[in-house]
């Protein structure tokens, strides 16, 4: 799959934003006044910034508001609806906390729950795709949720929780890669089933339907990044969890340590998310004989 920067930014940043909102809604940390304002500002900048980034890849962004209509069937629509609900409810909670110094625990909890549901919807957009076997696994929503909780805990200064979550996340990320590596073969689609000609023998593409590229090849047959996949996996594994966990365990807690850990985590997050797209193979590639192995 083509790793569009807008989608990588969107899923990464909004995941972090909603992760921070989740903890703020549960009063972790218990902030008020200007500190609360700063925390909520960062959370909203990430969540809203991410959502805005997601509109950059639309062909007709001016009609984006129509995407709230089909929540009964579409995960993308549900994501939009829950994101707006989460941001509204948390907005109410934040306003009461910052301007009236009033804690509304129930509102906070509802906002936290809505943030979780939003991230589940984001993950399900990918996990529902039977055409992309690497994504179509139960670990996909688990992974997105762990990124949300671990990143959120790190930003919300929940150091002990963040350490544990980052460690679990690292394991989950490796599992997602390992399961994903076998997913295409397990799904069973081959050039033989795609053309129906497998019953007659070994099939190969003799002539492409078009001499230059097209939308399908640009969108679904991304191959450049696979060359460096292993290196990027090592970088992602180190940065997402291992190095931040070591830092948090071995150095005295402080803003600077947390900040460096967060920067490292984000580098890992972006490389892992880039790989999530770049390594994902769509079955349509079979019609172009692009699948190897």
């Amino acid at each position: 799959m083509h790793p569009a920067p807008s989608v990588i930014l969107f899923t990464s940043l909004s995941g972090l934003g909603f992760g921070l909102l989740f903890f703020l809604g549960l009063d972790m940390p218990a902030v008020s006044g200007w500190t609360a304002f700063a925390f909520f500002f960062v959370a909203y900048a990430l969540a809203v910034g991410g959502l805005l980034a997601s509109t950059f890849h639309l062909g007709n962004p001016q009609r984006a508001v129509k995407a709230f209509k089909q929540w009964r069937s579409s995960w993308l629509s549900r994501e939009g609806v829950f994101a707006v609900l989460a941001l509204l409810v948390m907005g109410l909670y934040a306003a009461a906390l910052i301007f009236l110094d009033m804690r509304l625990p129930l509102v906070g909890m509802i906002g936290s729950a809505l943030s979780v549901i939003t991230v589940i919807c984001t993950a399900m957009i990918y996990a529902q795709m039977k055409t992309i076997p690497r994504w179509s696994q139960p670990m996909t929503p688990v992974l997105y949720l762990l990124y949300m909780f671990a990143g959120g805990a790190l930003m919300a200064a929940q150091i002990h929780l963040a350490t544990v979550l980052l460690a679990i996340l690292t394991v989950a990320q490796i599992l997602h890669w390992l399961i994903g590596d076998k997913a295409f073969a397990k799904a069973g689609s081959t050039i033989g089933t795609a053309t129906g000609l497998g019953i007659l023998g070994q099939v190969r593409l003799l002539e492409s339907p078009h001499s230059s590229t097209n939308y399908l090849l640009q969108e679904f047959a991304f191959e450049v990044g696979r060359k460096h996949a292993l290196k990027l996996r090592v970088i992602a594994t180190l940065c997402v969890g291992l190095l931040p966990v070591l830092m948090l365990l071995m150095t005295p807690a402080g803003h600077l340590v947390s900040l460096v850990a967060l920067v490292l985590h984000m580098i890992g997050l972006f490389s892992a998310r880039w790989l999530f797209f770049a390594e994902a193979e769509h079955v349509v590639g079979l019609y172009y004989d692009k699948h190897r192995g």
Binding site: L58, K66, R72, T193, G201, R204, T213, H282, V283
Partner: protein
């Protein structure tokens, strides 16, 4: 429009005969010609006369080679367009309801004025039947020439999809799969019409007729064939001398 209709009155679709298709791409061109000037936004081309032309097409012809042990390799031309699936995954992922499947005839269409161009339907389609138009930013797909098949302003003989109408080999057939006695249902039954990627459970309506087994011609080499064997280079004798002599002139 949110979800797929439980059932459709008709199941309009195509039968493509892989035994007959000669790979001339006439269906590709006639499809583009009809659909760029009728239903919805035109099918744009980028850099059409430059070094790297890219364009939107609703129908494309791949060419495959099939080999099995002990048999001659077989060339199969393979036209591919929307299969108008009964469980079309492209419809349910659409956040705006722009993608829908008609309950009256099962045709899968895009209402372009609602399409935001997110591309999710193309992700959900296993067959590459949908292409985003680079100029309009909306998703384009085969309409089964919905603006021809019911069109009373054109002669009756033309009221079938453009690709079917134009196919010089008659490799493409249009009809109603819900009717067990229709041309397409009979052909599918008699020739073992195949579903593409049945493992993905999309229940495609369009069917592909497999190529018929080829006759074994390995024992029937023409008696003149040995005379056509190329003359090897560096041949001795008279031919060798002649070759050298002619070369030297």
């Amino acid at each position: 429009m949110t979800t797929l209709p439980a059932s459709t009155d008709k199941k309009l679709g195509l039968v493509i005969d892989l035994d007959i298709c000669v790979g001339c791409h006439a269906c590709v061109i006639s499809c583009k010609e009809w659909n760029t000037s009728n239903y919805g936004a035109p099918l744009s081309d980028m850099d059409a006369y430059g070094e790297n032309p890219v364009g939107t097409f609703l129908n494309r012809v791949h060419t495959f080679e099939v080999k099995s042990a002990g048999c001659n390799a077989q060339t199969v031309h393979f036209p591919k367009s929307c299969l108008h699936c009964e469980d079309a995954p492209c419809v349910t992922v659409c956040p705006t309801g722009a993608s829908y499947k008609r309950s009256e005839d099962g045709i899968v269409l895009v209402n372009e004025s609602d399409c935001i161009g997110c591309g999710l339907c193309a992700w959900a389609c296993p067959y590459g039947a949908r292409e985003m138009d680079a100029a309009e930013g909306v998703m384009k797909k085969c309409t089964l020439c919905v603006d021809r098949i019911y069109n009373e302003n054109i002669p009756e003989i033309d009221r079938e999809p453009s690709c079917v109408r134009t196919c010089p080999a008659k490799a493409r057939h249009f009809g109603d799969f819900a009717d067990p006695d229709s041309n397409v249902s009979v052909m599918t039954r008699e020739r073992g019409g195949m579903e593409l990627m049945p493992e993905l459970m999309t229940k495609p309506v369009n069917r592909y007729l497999p190529p018929r087994p080829k006759a074994d011609i390995s024992g029937e080499i023409d008696i003149l064939a040995p005379l056509l064997t190329p003359v090897p280079e560096n041949k001795g004798g008279f031919m060798g001398w002649l070759d050298k002599a002619l070369e030297a002139i």
